[in-house]
């Protein structure tokens, strides 16, 4: 069995040190007996994940907001929308379908962003709406990658919305396994008759799934002749999800 990873031990020591108060790079390096370059590398990495913040004027370091919010929510819903807006637009323009971004909220999918289907027909914004986890593509993504979401759901009776809604726990579990192995989820008339959807995970630092982005539309546009999600559409959704994830990772 491999021994402890030195970089993680050092990072933990830096955090413990900063928990006592603000410090400059020199003090941190000296306290932990590290070369300045090494300490700086650790601080830079901790800054990108938001565990450490640097004061703009004095240059000193302190514990970051992400660390304080550890265990509550990972990402503000409005922040996610703001970061994703360009990519959601591009996905709607490319696919010709409506786009939604969802995050988990108390056993539901919270719609945090919605882009209209680009055909200029009357449509209504449903940002803020709650959707069922087990009957939507967005929800299946959230369930597949987060055991803390999927666990409690297994205790509840699954509601049926159409005759295609998956309500048997074993079947849902199989479907979620498939989502994990493919890297995307789909749904065909499981929530609304005549509608199908495709979704993929939005990931933050270290691959943590923070939300899902997907398209939904009429069955014959989303599915091909053999009732499977169109390959091109799946690729567009996955590209958009990757673009948002990259954006979150770049500037986080």
């Amino acid at each position: 069995m491999p021994g402890p990873i030195q970089a993680i031990e050092r990072a933990a020591a830096v955090l413990q040190l900063l928990a006592r108060g603000r410090l400059g790079l020199g003090d941190i390096a000296a306290s932990l007996n590290l070369p300045k370059g090494t300490a700086h590398g650790i601080l830079r990495t901790l800054r990108t994940v938001g565990f450490v913040e640097q004061d703009r004027t004095s240059g000193t370091y302190r514990l970051g907001a992400a660390l304080l919010h550890l265990g509550t929510s990972y990402l503000d819903a409005n922040e996610l929308r703001s970061r994703a807006i360009n990519w959601a637009d591009a996905l709607a323009a490319r696919s010709g379908e409506a786009v939604r971004i969802g995050m988990h909220l108390e056993g539901n999918v919270l719609v945090v962003h919605h882009v209209f289907r680009p055909d200029d027909t009357p449509q209504t914004l449903d940002v803020g709406a709650l959707l069922p986890l087990h009957a939507t593509a967005l929800g299946k993504v959230l369930l597949a990658y987060d055991a803390t979401v999927a666990g409690p759901l297994a205790q509840r009776r699954l509601v049926s919305f159409t005759r295609r809604t998956i309500i048997a726990p074993a079947e849902l579990s199989r479907a979620l396994g498939e989502v994990r192995s493919r890297g995307w989820a789909s749904e065909a008339e499981e929530y609304l008759p005549g509608e199908a959807a495709i979704a993929a995970p939005i990931r933050g630092h270290g691959g943590l799934v923070l939300g899902a982005i997907g398209v939904s539309g009429a069955v014959d546009r989303v599915l091909d002749g053999s009732q499977r999600p169109r390959v091109g559409l799946v690729a567009q959704v996955r590209d958009a999800a990757r673009a948002v994830s990259r954006d979150l990772d770049d500037t986080g």
Partner: protein, 504 residues
Amino acid sequence: MTQRYVVAIDQGTTSTRCILFDQDGRLASVAQREHRQYYPRPGWVEQDAVEIWRNVDRIVPRALRDAGVSAEQIVALGVANQRETAVVWDRHTGIPVGRAIVWEDIRTEDLVRELEKAPGADKVRERCGLPLATYFTAPRLRWLLDTTPGLRDRAERGDVLFGTMDSWLIWNLTGGVDGGSHVTDVTNASRTMLMNLATLSWDDELLAFFGVPRAMLPEIRPSTEIGGVSRRVVPGIRIAAALGDQHAALFGQTCFARGETKCTYGTGSFLLMNTGHELVRSTHGLLTTIGYQIGGDPVNYALEGSIAVTGSLVQWFRDNLGLIGTAPEIETLARTVEDNGGCYIVPAFSGLFAPHWRSEARGIIVGLTSYITKGHLARAVLEATGWQTREVVDAMNADSGMGTTALKVDGGMTADHLLMQFISDVLDVPVMRPMVAETVSLGAAYAAGLAVGYWPDLEGLRRNWHVAARWLPHMDTGHRESEYANWKRAVELSFTWGRPKISK
């Protein structure tokens, strides 16, 4: 067939972006870098033009790399830029004379008051379409010439050059000291106070009034006839268009017909209405400006309602008060309460722009009681943008004689649903966001693509416009009117608070 793209550089107030667009006007990649803001004294705002140029040098190759696109696949480049910001640099070394003075800077307040009394002041507005205010470029150029030793002589000899950010970037892109092209487009020139709106050329009387030597000024070109090929950053790309950012947004929103209007929500917010080939003079505190000029066609004029502080109020709330970690979190915080709790914020940081044009106004927060929480303050921050929009829409309706029936919006703040709903509520009209929120970049790309025939005509561009989101009004009329009355009272207080010093 190889896919071809147009590249847009959006040199904005807080950051510079490079975006690649495909033929359907869809975004292919984005690269962005923020630049530093310097506040050396209260009311002074400066930027380092060299830092901005270096950012361009980094983000353009990155945007190409992210999209997996080579320089040969780029058919044209368009520039959109923050307007009215003044850069002066040495023609022989390429080094700027001091930092760029930003459009939000109000150091010229006293100078503007002096100029108001100078002979010829009454003719300024008629010639350039703009009121004497700290917002525009000529007073700050005059300030630089007056306060920098030897600068006026160097300017008269043509040793130093002046430009807005478009000129600075294009000069550098086309070779800099090595034969860089010193040009500007007609929309940017229309913001300097030095161009005659009717002749579209530098006006001798305005140059004399402001004391600006002609030798330092760039050549004015139509928006889509910038000319020149990049020799630096990514060499060999045709620089086909340049527009001030708000004019680019008007173009990107495809407001090509008379009466079409858009509002862009960024650092400040800017409502522009295309008035066609007719030069409309405002009687309600709006500006007359150039919408755009395509090739040798007659220009399209526009009426503009400029609001100085909207997104920058959210940034101030984040950076100076530290009540939120990121700008979008303002919506989360604002949603923790039901209403503003009786609190109003008038963000007159640089005086108030349209429709008031009161340089002396100063920011105020009113209606504080022990009940007010940071949630109420967050509401008041967002509502300030809504009410300021209402004021310029009222002025636009009065000037144009047309009633606004819907508002096309774009810019970063359109991601804020609480704000967009509020704007719809206070205007009592639907608010629509198009599929591409990056309308400034899109407009620069459209103009560049049009210049090289990548897009055939305006109608083709119009077909790319689709609604991405629509907010419908549902505020009760009585509530709206009483809130508007409160806002107006708060605005009055901001005038009185900032009363100019009484000179003895």
